[in-house]
């Protein structure tokens, strides 16, 4: 052991960090081979996934918000537009917002003109993401099945599926018999309050390991030179003559040629510092996970009776969610009546779930807009850009959001895929109400 027994101290607080051998070869590229090399030489350290530099005094672009969208934007700014002098400023740890609090679903079953192409682009980017980032985000295209509970709903689903097909997106209409073959464990009994009469399926939809998205983008962006600055809160914008030139932060002023906001959940709060009042309210959406069990649910399942969606994570827990609590709040604590509602859906749709146990429930604060659709656009302040208002769909939008937002920032012009995500659409009467729920933030 090389030390005399008397010298041993059992570890306690504030001892020096473990020795890391900086001369050891470092596997920057992730692969099975790299894993094997590390397995054979357990002392060989892995490199940091992303660097944590001190902020510089100035950047070409500052992105406010180190969540999925902010990190993806920084990555694509560097990769697609060659803009690498970029800082992502995060008030907590990266991925501390909704990218780590969602139900991990990805899909592109969108019907309204302004949405379809954007979300399909996102799904295509998801399909190549692990390779692109050299980080396994576990993109699992296990298919999403949306269950219809009456014939009228089947027509509504058909319209959606037809639009998808007409836009080159996969969609299948299933009758009740076909659904039953796939999902025998649903409540097919006479007791079912609403009988399942069919479904629409998108085979390419699925799930992604959510945290990995933040980490993968951070690592890839960092490798391209982007600065990722955690524990740094933006406290104001430097605006002169209607033009932004930097941000005030808890770690001092940082100058910037352009500033992009990507803080969904807190968009109103941040935009207000730039003098903007927005069609956005902050609402809590709860999510739930059960104990891990062996594989039993192989698809993503959504229900037409009430907003309810479920999938099984690779770790084995059933992950599910429902509707927002329905009043604006910034507390990440949900109301128990909503938890009951969701449990009632789960057990009524899949009676076997009754015996499983919920391990955790948590809440994320999401931007709700009157029509349920987001914003990616310039703002009335020059060189200040807005990405927010994601409602229920922030996670699945992450890659396309970064892709189009980076374009919007780089070219000072909205990317063609997000032209309809305009800030002035309510003034113009161009709502994007994907589900026809009406212009209410708390009912969308």
């Amino acid at each position: 052991m090389g030390r005399t027994p008397q010298e041993v101290r059992f570890s306690g607080p504030c001892r020096a960090a473990p020795k890391s051998d900086t001369n050891a070869p470092v596997s920057k590229h992730y692969s099975a081979l790299a894993l094997a090399r590390h397995a054979l030489d357990p002392d060989m350290p892995w490199p940091k996934a992303w660097e944590s530099p001190e902020p510089k005094s100035s950047y070409d672009v500052v992105i406010v918000g180190g969540g999925g969208h902010g990190l993806a934007t920084a990555y694509y700014l560097a990769k697609n537009h060659g803009i690498t002098n970029v800082a992502v400023i995060e008030k907590s740890y990266i991925g501390s917002g909704n990218v780590g609090r969602n139900t991990t679903l990805i899909r592109s079953n969108y019907m309204i003109g302004g949405n379809t192409a954007f979300f399909e682009h996102s799904l295509k980017l998801w399909e190549g993401l692990s390779h692109d980032l050299n980080f396994n985000c576990m993109v699992s295209q296990r298919g999403q099945i949306v269950l219809a509970v009456n014939p009228v709903q089947m027509d509504v689903f058909a319209r959606r599926g037809n639009i998808m097909r007409l836009n080159g997106i996969d969609a299948e209409l299933l009758d009740a018999g076909e659904v039953r073959k796939l999902l025998p464990y649903l409540d097919w009994s006479k007791d079912a309050r609403w009988p399942i009469c069919g479904a629409i399926m998108q085979p390419r939809a699925g799930t992604v390991r959510h945290d990995a998205v933040a980490w993968g983008y951070a690592r890839a962006a960092s490798a391209l030179g982007v600065h990722i600055i955690e524990n740094c809160e933006v406290t104001g914008f430097v605006i002169n003559d209607g033009k932004v030139s930097g941000v005030e932060t808890s770690r001092g002023r940082i100058n910037a040629g352009k500033v992009g906001i990507a803080v969904a959940g807190h968009t109103s709060h941040v935009a207000k510092m730039a003098g903007l009042k927005l069609p956005v309210e902050s609402h809590i959406l709860q999510a739930f996970v059960t104990e891990p069990i062996k594989p039993i649910v192989d698809n993503v399942i959504s229900w037409g009776a009430e907003l309810f969606y479920l999938s099984q994570s690779d770790k084995g827990g059933l992950v599910f969610g429902g509707h927002i609590d329905g009043f604006n709040t910034y507390t990440q604590r949900g109301q128990f009546n909503r938890i009951q509602t969701v449990a009632e859906c789960a057990v009524s749709l899949m009676p076997f779930i009754s015996r499983l146990r919920m391990l955790r429930h948590w809440g994320g604060i999401q931007d709700m807009t009157p029509d349920g659709s987001p914003f990616i656009s310039r703002t009335p302040v020059r060189n200040l850009y807005l990405n927010g208002g994601w409602c229920y769909q922030g996670f699945k939008a992450t890659p396309a959001s970064g892709w189009t937002y980076s374009h919007t920032i780089a070219h000072d012009q909205e990317h063609e895929l997000v032209r309809d995500f305009a800030l002035d659409r309510f003034e113009k009467g161009r709502e994007l109400d994907e589900f026809g729920l009406g212009n209410w933030t708390y009912k969308q």
């Binding site: 927005l278 309210e281 212009n439 933030t441």
Partner: protein, 81 residues
């Protein structure tokens, strides 16, 4: 969350229907141009902190009332007349 219905007393939030920000000034009927109505209907202060809002005791006396609540803590304040 328990909400104080001015007529029925403290009741569980599940008995109520939410009606949104009550600090907004609805233009008088028959007045207000497109911009005024847009700002009234579509824009939100969305504060993190004190908020007044409408609730209806829909599974009860059906009264709408204005309530003060803190959106940062969900602490319930007074019914505002």
């Amino acid at each position: 969350m328990m909400l104080p219905c001015p007529h029925c007393g403290d009741r569980d939030v599940s008995e109520f229907r939410y009606g949104g920000d009550a600090s907004k000034q609805r233009p008088q009927h028959g007045t207000g141009d497109l911009q005024t109505w847009h700002d009234y209907f579509f824009l939100f202060e969305n504060p993190k902190g004190p908020h007044t809002e409408y609730w209806q005791h829909v599974l009860g006396c059906r009264r709408w009332f204005k309530l003060a609540r803190n959106t940062a803590t969900n602490e319930i304040g007074e019914v505002v007349s």
